[in-house]
């Protein structure tokens, strides 16, 4: 495969650093991906050249900032193929996007006794906002069971849909198992009952081709810091028809049309949901991250990562005493495992000593850990700059960990 991984790695200065006197092997991309020079430079440029508050001023700098910011909105819309750019709302990240929907859609469209369906493999950020809605509104939370191989029980899902179902909220790719869920099918099934669907795309946006019109999902949420952009910025995509129905969830500047001391009227989409000064530097960084991804080519990245994932899965499967969690037919981007009866924390600590960054623990998915009756796993998650050589280093390091434990 003719993929310029060496020159790509040159774009990420952090990959050159040493950790505990060993060259860094960064396999914690599922938590935060690293940032390429063009993204860092795009954000620096804001401070060097046109930093000022957007949408407000009549002066040149403010106009330049506003133009750049709104340009990214159009860029994000094109990236996920949204019908309108005002269907793209900037947030702090996936978590805030889900909380916004739980609060605002919850206010407008969900009543006591109504039901929301999530799955048993959700990140806490797609569980806890619904618990909050549960205590606020008295809704019922239904859960799609996870099968032994880490795929969703689709038959059970169909049974869960009822006349009281008001929303289905599921993850596109499991942050623990790597399962790629059939979100198009999940959406189509919900739509048969007139139920909207929210997809948590945090783990998918940088790996999959996401086309929200093709998926026909009603909400799609993701974070910038997992797609080579800066932290603190994310996106809520929502279909106009829902966003129009939903009340603002935070008040402040930007989101208003008129304010008297007695009452306010609200701005239109997308500004209605963007109270206060947004993280315009972060958003401009996100725009540069999209340019970076498109510059290499999403399909090119997908093929390379697919190949790397298959290699990693094969190599790790051959490690003695390893148990891999997540063997669904359609999966990718990360491998979760346990080594013998060694606690994931011990494995992670020893890998760190060898310069390898992995995530250990319950991955903010405690219900899923309970499902498999384990305290946590070790997770190696991959990005466009990882290599087969790095996978080999991990495999050799795991042999050392086993050796240390006798």
């Amino acid at each position: 495969m003719n993929y310029p991984v060496d020159s790509i790695r040159e774009d990420f200065p952090i990959l050159k650093r040493m950790v505990n006197n060993k060259p860094l092997v960064y396999f914690d991309n599922g938590a935060t991906s690293q940032t390429p020079i063009p993204v860092i430079e795009a954000m620096n440029r804001v401070y060097y050249e046109f930093n000022s508050n957007i949408h407000r001023g009549v002066h040149t700098l403010s106009n330049l900032g506003t133009e750049a910011f709104e340009g990214v909105r159009r860029k994000v819309a094109a990236f996920i193929n949204a019908r309108h750019s005002h269907e793209v709302i900037f947030t702090k990240g996936t978590t805030e996007s889900i909380n916004l929907v739980a609060y605002s859609y919850g206010e407008a469209c969900i009543l006591e006794g109504d039901e929301v369906i999530i799955s048993g493999m959700e990140h806490h950020s797609n569980i806890v906002p619904w618990h909050l809605l549960q205590s606020r509104k008295g809704i019922t939370l239904k859960v799609i069971p996870v099968l032994e191989d880490g795929s969703l029980d689709m038959e059970a899902y169909k049974q869960l849909l009822s006349p009281r179902t008001k929303l289905v909220a599921v993850t596109h790719i499991s942050n623990v198992l790597g399962t790629i869920n059939p979100v198009k099918e999940i959406t189509a099934e919900a739509h048969k009952h007139g139920v909207p669907v929210l997809i948590d795309g945090a783990q998918a946006i940088h790996h999959e081709m996401v086309d929200v019109q093709e998926l026909d999902c009603d909400f799609y949420v993701f974070s910038s810091h997992k797609m080579y952009g800066p932290t603190g910025t994310g996106v809520l995509y929502g279909k106009e028809k829902w966003l129009d129905k939903m009340p603002p969830w935070q008040g402040g500047g930007e989101m208003i049309k008129t304010v008297t001391l007695e009452t306010s009227t609200f701005n239109e989409l997308p500004f209605k949901f963007e109270a206060g000064t947004p993280d315009y530097v972060g958003v401009i960084g996100l725009g540069a991250a999209i340019d970076y991804i498109e510059g290499i080519g999403r399909e090119v990245i997908r093929r390379y990562e697919g190949d790397l994932y298959a290699y990693a899965f094969d190599r790790l499967s051959a490690v003695e005493d390893i148990r891999i969690y997540g063997t669904a037919p359609v999966r990718g981007s990360l491998v979760s495992f346990l080594l013998g009866n060694i606690h994931p924390f011990d494995t992670g600590m020893l890998l760190d000593k060898m310069g390898i960054a992995v995530r250990t623990g319950h991955h903010c998915a405690q219900p899923l850990m309970d499902r498999f009756a384990i305290p946590g796993t070790v997770r190696a998650s991959f990005a466009l700059y990882n290599t087969r050589e790095e996978v080999d280093i991990l495999v050799a390091a795991l042999a050392k960990v086993r050796q240390l434990f006798g």
Binding site: N20, I342, H343, P344, F345, D346, G348, M349, L350, K353, T360, G361, H362, P375, G376, K400, L404, F405
Partner: protein
């Protein structure tokens, strides 16, 4: 031996262990060797729960001295607890409260002091001091 003599002894032992693998190997050995924990102590009250691993810590007072009993599901963590127990076991509440645990830094375990390692030394040391404070109050010292 005094608390500081024991700390110096541990520092000496670690200095003989060259690279990190030997040091962690020793911690694993210490962890495996810590077996004074009875199942009756495995209660929620004794649990110091964090994000990454579980630690159970139980303390008893005997003749004015505190004895610790601990367990963890992660062996390296258990090894670190074993070191703490080695230094602080069988001491009076005042000795524990006054102890300056300088060995942690000297043997290269300082990274475990980071508060983000929620099951790190910080929580354990804090819990041991809490026991000491409680017993000190109880004894009316």
């Amino acid at each position: 031996m005094s608390i500081n003599e024991l700390q110096d002894q541990i520092i000496e032992e670690f200095s003989l262990l060259g690279e990190w693998m030997d040091r962690y190997s020793y911690l694993i050995e210490l962890g495996n060797g810590l077996d004074n924990f009875s199942e009756e102590y495995r209660t929620n009250q004794n649990l110091i729960e964090g994000c990454q691993s579980k630690v159970w810590l139980h303390a008893e007072l005997k003749d004015g001295k505190i004895f610790f009993f601990a367990d963890s599901d992660a062996i390296i963590v258990k090894g670190i607890v074993a070191l703490l127990i080695k230094v602080l076991d069988g001491r009076t509440p005042s000795e524990i409260l006054d102890a300056d645990l300088y060995f942690i830094d000297k043997v290269g375990l300082k990274e475990h002091l980071s508060p983000t390692r929620s099951n790190g030394l910080v929580a354990m040391v804090k819990q041991m001091r809490m026991y000491a404070l409680a017993y000190k109050t109880k004894l009316g010292l």
